[in-house]
């Protein structure tokens, strides 16, 4: 008997395949030519534009929008890619509501910003559809750089280095390249295998070799990489997760949200991904939202996301919270997990007292047959020799680590938000510094 939303326990295929396909379609559908023209006309071409300042990769947004409005979206895309080679993915996943669009002067004036993200997608889609790479490599320098991690930071770094004429080898522990773009981003933000398509397109610059299934600390050592290459960039992300130190945390049905999402992302049609009838997601960040929303989209009947602090403290943006609730996710604030039982999760109510979170003693239980832990990722597997800053690899403003010849960027490195676009900026900037250091 096929399963449905009310089937008890964990079950795959709670919804018909076509329904699941529809649920995971583009969250923000692409603009068509007419819509793009109308929207681009709304841009005021601000001086020293606030949107540009807010963009971690400092894309010249007024210029690319003007290029769209004058009928040259390909030129617009070049403006974008010159700053951010993963401008296609960023157009899909950037929390624009807290970056460029938040500070758009039309947001100030009318509460309706120019839809910068969708315009960026319009332009980048247009150029990428030409299946030719917009940049050419400089003359070969004879230098060879190792990049560890084929996520946004590593790819941005590798691309910029290749453009400068260096040879690059990217190593990644997973069987596929792309990092969080391939394994982490919510499926409805990058449908149609966009992460792999973009990867192939980025590699179209040439000079980049990708070696998969090699893990730093496993088959790879930093010493070997340094010996065999002229420089090393680490974009290893956050491979570990924070532990949930409560009773029952390792019961069946309890899983790390990042692992569950990675499985979902690798599934062809998602009808084979088991999901609970009643799902509890513990956490308040983007991973928690992505997990909660996607369990609903797969047909979970009741999905509750529980965060120990209040709404204002939640890392997920207002937009993302609204997205979750619009998909039928219930969000409970100010409740900390105390125990996972064989019927659900027991929470204790919390409140903030003088900036400190205290438990009130009042408890309640939410029934669950699937519990997803999304309480944060941590650095793991980094070389011992590197100095840390807090829980991340310490880097200076150029991405240099404490070891000469080793750079780092993206989520694994100190400074900046853990965003795709920030990782791209850090990878790109580290590449520029590596290039300068190699003196080629």
């Amino acid at each position: 008997m096929p399963s449905d939303p009310l089937t008890p326990g964990l079950a795959a295929g709670r919804l018909p395949a076509d329904q699941i396909a529809a649920n995971f379609a583009d969250l923000h559908p692409p603009l068509d030519d007419h819509q793009a023209l109308v929207e681009s006309d709304r841009c005021y071409f601000c001086h020293d534009a606030p949107c540009m300042q807010a963009c971690p990769t400092t894309i010249d947004i007024p210029l690319f929008i003007r290029q769209i409005s004058t009928g040259t979206p390909e030129a617009a895309a070049r403006t974008i890619f010159a700053q951010n080679i993963l401008g296609g993915m960023c157009a899909r996943v950037c929390p624009t509501e807290t970056l460029c669009e938040e500070v758009c002067v039309r947001e100030v004036a009318e509460g309706k910003p120019v839809e910068i993200g969708r315009l960026q997608r319009f332009a980048t889609d247009r150029l990428m559809a030409r299946n030719s790479h917009p940049f050419e490599r400089a003359a070969p320098t004879g230098k060879h750089v190792a990049v560890v991690g084929a996520g946004p930071a590593g790819l941005a770094c590798a691309h910029r280095l290749a453009m400068k004429g260096h040879e690059v080898t990217i190593y990644d522990a997973r069987p596929k390249a792309g990092g969080l773009n391939e394994f982490g981003i919510a499926a409805y933000k990058a449908p149609d295998d966009f992460a792999q398509k973009e990867l192939d397109w980025v590699l179209g610059i040439g000079g980049i070799k990708v070696v998969l299934g090699k893990r730093l600390g496993g088959d790879l050592s930093l010493e070997d990489l340094q010996r065999d290459h002229d420089a090393v960039f680490l974009g290893i992300g956050l491979a570990g997760v924070n532990a949930l130190a409560i009773d029952g945390a390792d019961r069946p049905g309890v899983q790390d949200a990042v692992d569950w999402i990675a499985e979902l992302r690798q599934s062809a049609d998602k009808t084979d991904i088991p999901v609970g009838r009643r799902v509890v997601v513990i956490g308040g960040g983007m991973t928690a939202i992505d997990a909660a929303v996607q369990t609903r989209l797969l047909g979970a009947d009741e999905v509750t996301m529980v965060y120990r602090r209040d709404k204002a403290a939640m890392a997920a943006s207002e937009f993302e919270q609204n997205l979750a609730t619009s998909k039928g996710v219930r969000i409970i604030y100010n409740a900390a997990p105390r125990e996972i039982t064989d019927t659900g999760v027991v929470f204790v109510r919390t409140r903030s007292e003088g900036g400190k979170l205290v438990e009130t003693g009042e408890t309640f239980e939410i029934a669950a047959d699937q519990v997803l832990r999304a309480i944060g990722q941590t650095l793991a597997g980094q070389p011992e020799a590197l100095a840390l800053e807090g829980r991340k690899i310490a880097v200076d403003e150029h991405g240099r680590t404490s070891l000469a010849g080793v750079w780092a960027g993206g989520d694994c490195a100190s400074g900046g938000d853990d965003l795709t676009v920030t990782a791209v900026a850090e990878g790109r900037d580290a590449a520029e510094d590596i290039h300068a250091a190699l003196g080629a």
Partner: protein, 433 residues
Amino acid sequence: MADLTSTFVGIKSPNPFWLASAPPTDKEYNVRRAYQAGWGGVVWKTLGEDGPPVVNVNGPRYGAIYGPDRRLLGLNNIELITDRPLDVNLREIKAVKRDWPDRALVVSLMVPCEEEPWKRILPLVEETGADGVELNFGCPHGMAERGMGSAVGQVPEYIEMVTRWVKQNTRMPVIVKLTPNITDIRRPAEAAKRGGADAVSLINTINSITSVDLDNFAPEPTIDGWGAHGGYCGPAVKPIALNMVAEIARHPETADLPISGIGGVSTWRDAAEFMALGAGNVQVCTAAMTYGFKIVQEMISGLSQYMDEKGISSVDEIVGRAVPKVKDWNDLNLNYVTKAVIDQDSCIKCGRCYIACEDTSHQAIAMSDDRVFTVKDEECVACNLCVNVCPVEGCITMRQLEIGETDPRTGEVVREYANWTTHPNNPAVKAAE
């Protein structure tokens, strides 16, 4: 509610909004729909001589200029005068006028520059019961190549001659429609008056090429790979038309000549502006061709509300009211000193005022690190560019310095009215001393 009835050269209409001689007034069907929609009058699309009608191109007749969101700002056309037989037009005119006696119906005419053709056609028009005729000395394309339209309008002697023939051969009021494709609009207006015209109407369309096809390297609209200049109209031409209307209205030789204002009239406000500068009524074309005839309802309600709010009871009270204030540059008060003021509460911090002033004007706006924009009074020459480029209505205004105040830019105290004719820098003043 305000009384919008209008009497123009003796022709009565329930409101001063007429449709200009153009495609919307080419035949009975359209004109009836226009009257039903509420238009006060219509100038029937230009009739030519009896005989085989003119033919139009069968490719595009129009080209357009757009603003944001494809808002049509300017329209160019290469359509000729009516391409329907004369007798059909005359029969329809008669039928429409019979059914709509309270609406103005003027017939536009264009026949060769000889007396006989005019003598032949005028009685035929008179017989329809039409209220008047408008002489098309304006169309700049096609017919001009055959010695008609603007080819007549560009030669004041011809205007005077033909107008005189027409006045001698009809009892109907005669309106002479002028072309803007000349150097001084007052000369053709004077000629029309000398010929006995009851009024002039202006402007007709402006010679134009709307765009160029950059794939085929041909002007647009393109007919089989080629293009010819057309006549430009619509909101884009309004400032040119307003000036020409005002020039005639304030010129001593033509100040008493009634004017029917034409050129980009799209809203009640445009109409009121034309009338304030001396137009007795207005004629509309492009706005109707863009949105349909219903726009006249907004024009009627808007002008009514405006007149009620101003305590104006008749449209004649608006006509010419701004004319005394149209002056030569020489007359302007050089002691009128203003400074831009940016309202920080409504500023959205786009920085357009700053970059416009910094790059292209007087470096009179300061920008702080946190994007606060302020005017430097000691640099501001009051050019108004910041006001013009600001996207927020009312955010930047100009403050007038009081007499006795010191202008921080010049260090001079603001004095009473004085113009260039008495300014010490004027060589002519020195010469007189």
